[in-house]
Amino acid sequence: MSARLRVNPIMCEAHGLCAELLPELIRLDDWGYPIIDSPDVPPELLRLARKAADACPTLALLLEEGRE
């Protein structure tokens, strides 16, 4: 099963929780908005990725699971 991270940039308000919870995949730009260099989530990080998506205060971080 594949999982991909995406940000809805309109919803994102640069709270930055995602980068704290998932620094392996998410870093912040100079203004605090997330940069995802590679959107594919390896299986061992899936749990953390779900946590990060759930924690996003504006629901801007999307974890798309099980899609091709």
Partner: protein, 439 residues
């Protein structure tokens, strides 16, 4: 402009050029329905399948900037339509240096509307909406006049929306129609899946539709008589800058870039670079640009695309850095203000680039611009940051060598006044922008 096609030979298309611009009056008048019928004949009846297949064989690609195969787009909407699809003619033309859509809508509205009716039939759309910018008075007037004398099988209405660079982006057009807000939305769903009122929506550029009107009449073989195998047909190109006769020209694909400039009266001074594809486009220095043809493969080889068909010639008396700084400032100001990376990123890029052009920034600033243009790409809801980043990268590649020189002495180049904004008087805009950059 050219000999009228006799009625007996209606289905023989014009030989050579012009095609789209056949019969264009030299007085600037809108072509009447009667003249339109004399030049191109009446609208042919084609089955949806026949038309989509003919468009497929013609190799026609969208002329709004995305360069996407038109038949694929038609097919995608036709498949989902079930009679409920909508066709939107996207006549926003928010690219400040483009004038082709306005030319078509003001002077040849019947050709565009023919294409709209054909495309609507092909995808099973029950409604056509023509969207233009509210400043495009000529287009609005010509469309009203044209619609009042036509008897079309599908209802067609005109919607005028606010101007602004991103207001012409597909999802922004859909949101304008749905909610009165001319701003892009987060996609998917894309318009062809769920657009106007949640229905499958085909969004096409006026030139693309005008080309469809010709393909339906004269066939895909005729269409391919001009151009190259990979890029068949003709295109409208808006040529401006340091040329003697700036304007919209219809040219065959495969035409050498130097012939494009000749078509516009030739250059008025030695040129240093061409901007290809408008403000989401790419600067190409003349040593490379003069060897190119108007063809995707040639343009791709130097990292650019035709975009919406804009070509700007920059003379040697102008300063590429300052001209680019003005354009970047304009693009930054045109962010819809929704996505952080676009709002803050483009503003920072613009400030830093302006400082580089003014000779008050060092190599570190240049490295920051480079990092930011990499970082903002793909991080907006629409492609505004991507297009702006591409423009900036090409400006650094072509004019970057002059940054050092600017740091050492005052730049004495003359303003070339690339247009920024559709509605402001050009002179005032240029003066304002220069003040902003000469701190």
């Amino acid at each position: 402009m050219e000999a009228r096609t006799p009625v007996s030979a209606l289905l023989t298309g014009p030989q050579g050029l012009p095609r789209l611009l056949s019969g264009l009056s030299e007085t600037g008048a809108t072509m009447t329905l009667a003249d339109h019928a004399r030049v191109h004949g009446v609208l042919p009846r084609t089955s949806p399948r026949e038309l989509i297949e003919a468009v497929h064989r013609s190799g026609l690609r969208g002329r709004g900037g995305a360069d996407f195969p038109t038949a694929v787009k038609l097919q995608a909407v036709a498949q989902r339509s079930r009679g409920g699809a909508v066709l939107v003619v996207n006549g926003s033309e928010t690219e400040p240096a483009s004038a082709k859509d306005r030319l078509l809508l003001t002077r040849l509205p019947h050709l565009v509307l023919d294409g709209a009716v054909l495309a609507a039939g092909a995808v099973g759309a029950g409604e056509v909406i023509v969207k233009v910018g509210e400043g495009a008075r000529g287009s609005l007037q010509a469309l009203d006049g044209a619609l009042s004398v036509r008897a079309d099988p599908v209802p067609i209405r005109v919607v005028a929306g606010p101007e602004g660079y991103v207001a012409g982006e597909e999802s922004a057009v859909v949101q304008l129609l749905n909610a009165g807000v001319p701003k892009p939305t987060f996609v998917p769903p894309r318009a062809f899946e769920r657009g106007y009122r949640g229905r499958p929506t085909l969004i096409q550029n006026p030139e693309t539709l005008a080309q469809i009107a010709l393909v339906a009449r004269y066939g895909d073989r005729w269409y391919r008589e001009l151009g190259t195998d990979a890029d068949p047909g003709s295109a409208l190109v808006t040529i401006s800058g340091a040329v003697a006769a700036p304007g919209v020209y219809e040219l065959a694909f495969g035409t050498p870039m130097t012939d494009l400039l000749s078509a516009a009266g030739g250059s008025t001074e030695p040129l240093q670079a061409l901007l290809v594809g408008g403000y989401f486009g790419t600067w190409v220095d003349t040593s490379r640009a003069f060897g190119l043809r108007l063809a995707r493969e040639d343009l791709r080889s130097v990292g650019c695309s035709l975009g919406s068909g804009v070509l700007i010639a920059l003379g040697e008396s102008a300063c590429g850095l300052h001209e680019s700084a003005r354009v970047i400032a304009y693009l930054a100001s045109q962010s819809a203000g929704q996505c952080g990376p676009c709002v803050y990123g483009l503003r920072a890029i613009s400030d830093a680039f302006g400082a580089l052009a003014d000779g008050v920034a060092n190599e570190r600033e240049r490295e920051r611009v480079r990092r930011w243009t990499t970082e903002v790409r793909g991080r907006g809801a629409c492609h505004h940051p991507d297009g702006a980043a591409r423009f900036v990268d090409s400006a650094l590649a072509v004019f970057g060598g002059e940054i050092d020189w600017h740091r050492r002495q005052r730049c004495t180049a003359l303003p070339a006044e690339l247009p920024v904004g559709n509605r402001e008087p050009r002179r005032a805009t240029a003066a304002t922008a220069r003040r902003a950059f000469r701190r």
